[in-house]
């Protein structure tokens, strides 16, 4: 690996990386993040390699990160000199021979093509790369252009700028798309100027709190201490999102470059990247990124001849939600139980091993190279008055095409939901859950709210780390609240009483609701408990835990009332529902009879069956399998 000490060296590597990205032969890219691999991308990749070899084609088959097209995985992209880049999916291993043959014959496999890209804007370079040299070749004309695809055209890829385009394990490819030039620029600025730039950009932490990143850095820079640390929280935490994993696996250098710039600005000598337990591929790719940066001289002693020394270690955590809390994460890095401590003294003054420490979320770090590279002025033009930049959103729940998208702050929630192509079975939107367990549930009308830290928190939720979960009319709000509270009880560290005992009691009372025996007095007690937890808990886990209850009560009080009357309107709470088959809808396909594990669905051949309520265990297998939704609760 070439040692990089000057900007000229960096430019030489950029040239080299450019030859990899746009080779004179074909470049075949396969999306190889773990979610793609779960859908068989690894087999597609090895089959492609074998087929290319067999046919004697000169081509490189390259693993890249997540392309964000979850519904079309495994996804493959092909770049050929002078022709549009084409994205294909889904491509199965069996498709490969046919696929390669089509590309050899016509340059394109129309059957599996999703869209084409004639030219691509490279964010950090500030210019476009044109794939086509002249007009669009005839064979490619029937394929829609990138900008015609609804899920793609409203997105702005800043954090995901390289995801799916580069080999995440190649530092050359990262540099070829403008990587590490921001570091080189930052090292020629004064540390205070770097902080000033980040402050002016208006970057706010992407982990939930939404603190101004520049101010956080400044207080750590000003703190006294011979040793200082910078940390990256790369553990997912919130259940129901997979975005950190995707960024780690797709573009680890973008996070690393941000951390090095931050360390220089703060004056830190060492850093740690704390990764979710079990994110093996993420750990592996981050470790490779650190290793390559070290070998290139972008980490270690005298980085880019600036006199600045810095090292970083990627560490896998033990798996605990509360480790999203700064002091708990630091305890975990020290090898202890991840319990938070009171923050009378800020971690910026006494954090990891009692030294001044700055902790930022992975997505916050990945913003930094863009701010330095493009300038605060450019960056602050994106977003709303007080929420700047873009946000990666993990869109899931009852949605047809769950996906990972990146949109400018200020984008309306309904526009994001539209990117998922509507709600499952075209049901109605009931509510939106945003911000994970620390956030809240917002009613369907809130879909017209913009993605904005302050507006969401006024509405009773918070942006959190960006999980947006769509809830349809078949969702029971009491069940959702109970679900999150149970999650939090399991994850509460148990150190402080309000959180430990408060959650236990809240769930007991919530349990009464779902049994249909809750009372008005119960509700009043729950509200009182919530207040005590918000005021008295040690850390944000306990302080925010009641949000899910208070927000569901605020917007869906009628549903709590129905439960008190012994009814679950959505038909979810098992103790309050009895399944029956609507003979007007039933097509007598027999599926429900086949799947029932206790033979509770009974009936004669070619007649609408009925459900024996004495036998029924309400497992929901019949509801799941019924295509026409004839089984009612």
């Amino acid at each position: 690996m070439m040692k990089i000490s000057t900007k000229a060296d960096l430019e030489a590597v950029r040239e080299k990386g450019g030859d990899l990205l746009y080779p004179p032969y074909q470049r075949i890219m396969v999306g190889m993040a773990t979610c793609c691999i779960a859908r068989g991308a690894d087999k597609v990749m090895s089959t492609l390699e074998a087929e290319v070899k067999k046919k004697g084609i000169t081509a490189s088959v390259v693993p890249v990160g997540c392309m964000g097209l979850c519904q079309s995985e495994p996804t493959v992209e092909v770049i050929q000199r002078g022709k549009p880049k084409v994205t294909y999916g889904p491509v199965s291993p069996e498709d490969v021979p046919d696929f390669i043959q089509a590309i050899v014959n016509e340059g394109v496999d129309k059957k599996r093509a999703l869209f084409r890209t004639d030219s691509e804007y490279l964010l950090l370079q500030g210019e476009s790369y044109r794939y086509i040299t002249g007009a669009v070749p005839d064979a490619f004309k029937g394929i829609p252009e990138y900008s015609e695809i609804p899920t793609l055209k409203k997105q702005l890829k800043v954090i995901l700028r390289n995801s799916g385009s580069i080999n995440p394990e190649s530092i050359e490819e990262y540099i070829a798309r403008g990587g590490y030039f921001s570091l080189s620029k930052a090292l020629r600025m004064k540390p205070e100027e770097v902080i000033e730039e980040v402050t002016r950009a208006g970057l706010r932490g992407r982990s939930g709190g939404g603190f101004l990143t520049g101010s956080k850095w400044l207080s750590c820079r000003k703190a006294e201490g011979a040793v200082k640390y910078v940390l990256c929280n790369a553990s997912e935490g919130d259940p129901g999102i997979g975005m950190h994993k995707s960024i780690l696996e797709s573009d680890p250098h973008s996070i690393l470059e941000g951390i090095i710039i931050g360390a220089y600005a703060i004056g830190a000598q060492a850093g740690y990247i704390y990764i979710s337990s079990g994110y093996l591929l993420g750990v592996k790719r981050m470790e490779k990124a650190v290793e390559d940066a070290k070998a290139s001289g972008l980490l270690g002693k005298n980085i880019l001849n600036s006199g600045f020394d810095f090292t970083v270690v990627a560490k896998e955590g033990g798996g605990a939600y509360v480790c999203g809390e700064s002091t708990a994460l630091m305890a975990s890095l020290e090898g202890r139980m991840g319990e938070p401590r009171p923050k009378y003294i800020h971690t910026a003054e006494k954090g990891l091993w009692e030294s001044p420490t700055d902790l930022n979320n992975l997505e916050t770090w990945a913003n930094v190279p863009v701010i330095i590279g493009k300038g605060a002025q450019w960056y602050s033009k994106i977003g709303t008055a007080k929420s700047k930049g873009t946000k990666v959103i993990s869109l899931s729940g009852n949605i047809k095409e769950p996906c990972l998208v990146e949109v400018p702050m200020g984008t309306l929630l309904k526009d994001i939901i539209e990117m998922g192509n509507g709600i499952v079975k075209d049901r109605k939107l009931k509510a939106i859950q945003i911000g994970g367990p620390a956030g809240g549930v917002l009613p369907a009308e809130s879909a017209s709210l913009p993605l904005d830290f302050d507006q969401l928190s006024q509405a009773g939720s918070n942006l959190g780390s960006g999980g947006l979960i769509v809830l349809d009319e078949k969702t029971c709000m009491v069940d959702v609240a109970k679900y999150f509270l149970t999650f939090l009880r399991e994850e509460s560290c148990g150190k402080c009483v309000p959180c430990r005992e408060g959650l236990k009691k809240l769930i007991e009372l919530m349990e009464r609701m779902s049994l249909g025996i809750g009372t008005k007095e119960d509700l009043a007690l729950m509200q009182e408990l919530s207040l005590a937890m918000e005021k008295g808990s040690l850390c944000d886990l306990g302080k925010t835990a009641p949000h899910i209850f208070t927000s569901t009560l605020r917007y869906f009080k009628d549903e709590y009332e129905a439960h008190m009357d012994g009814k679950c309107p959505a038909g979810v709470c098992k103790d309050l529902v009895f399944y029956s088959i609507d003979s007007g809808i039933c097509t007598v396909c027999g599926s429900c009879m086949r799947v029932c594990p206790v033979d509770a669905v009974v009936g004669e051949e070619k007649k609408v069956p009925s459900i024996d309520l004495k036998k029924c265990i309400k497992c929901g297998a019949c509801v799941e399998v019924c295509e026409v939704e004839a089984i009612k609760a």
């Binding site: 859908r39 994110y279 999150f484 594990p597």
Partner: protein
């Protein structure tokens, strides 16, 4: 899996990450992956090598989700009950598996064949509900499909 373990294995884990207090979690990860669980004997052995009190090591081993202090079955079945999977029937899958395998969540079947676990989000929200059996993630799982998956393992 038995309670028997090789001291060499513990030594190699300690050597890999260094005999430092802050390496404890990484060392335990290594032991968990190689041995399948962290037993009392292993904790005692580790305590001597790292000079950390047994209570502290046991505290860490029982605190984090990544570690198990009981022997695990040959196959680990992880049913996701993250928000997205929950909404799509993840918890029904868990109940079904408890019934099929006659074992409660976190439990191991009598023949030590399966360990059943509930997990909160493994980052495959886009293909939920998911069930992970050993290293393979299965997406869009239904009750019908999960029963077949178990039979395939048998």
């Amino acid at each position: 899996m038995t309670d028997h373990f090789e001291e060499k294995e513990i030594e190699s884990a300690v050597k890999k990450f260094g005999a430092k207090k802050e390496a404890l979690i990484s060392i335990l990860q290594e032991i968990q992956r190689k041995q399948g669980f962290v037993s009392e004997e292993m904790v005692l052995c580790l305590s001597e090598k790292l000079d950390i009190p047994v209570s502290q090591i046991f505290g860490v081993a029982s605190y984090y989700r990544a570690f198990s202090t009981q022997p695990q079955g040959r196959h680990t079945i992880q049913v996701c009950d993250g928000t997205s999977c929950h909404l799509q029937g993840g918890s029904n899958l868990l109940t079904r598996l408890e019934r099929e395998l006659k074992v409660a969540e976190k439990g191991t079947t009598e023949d030590l064949k399966f360990t059943l676990e509930k997990v909160r989000c493994q980052g495959y929200c886009h293909v939920g509900p998911t069930v992970k059996i050993d290293d393979t993630v299965h997406g869009s799982v239904t009750q019908e499909k999960v029963v077949k998956l178990i039979e395939e393992q048998k």
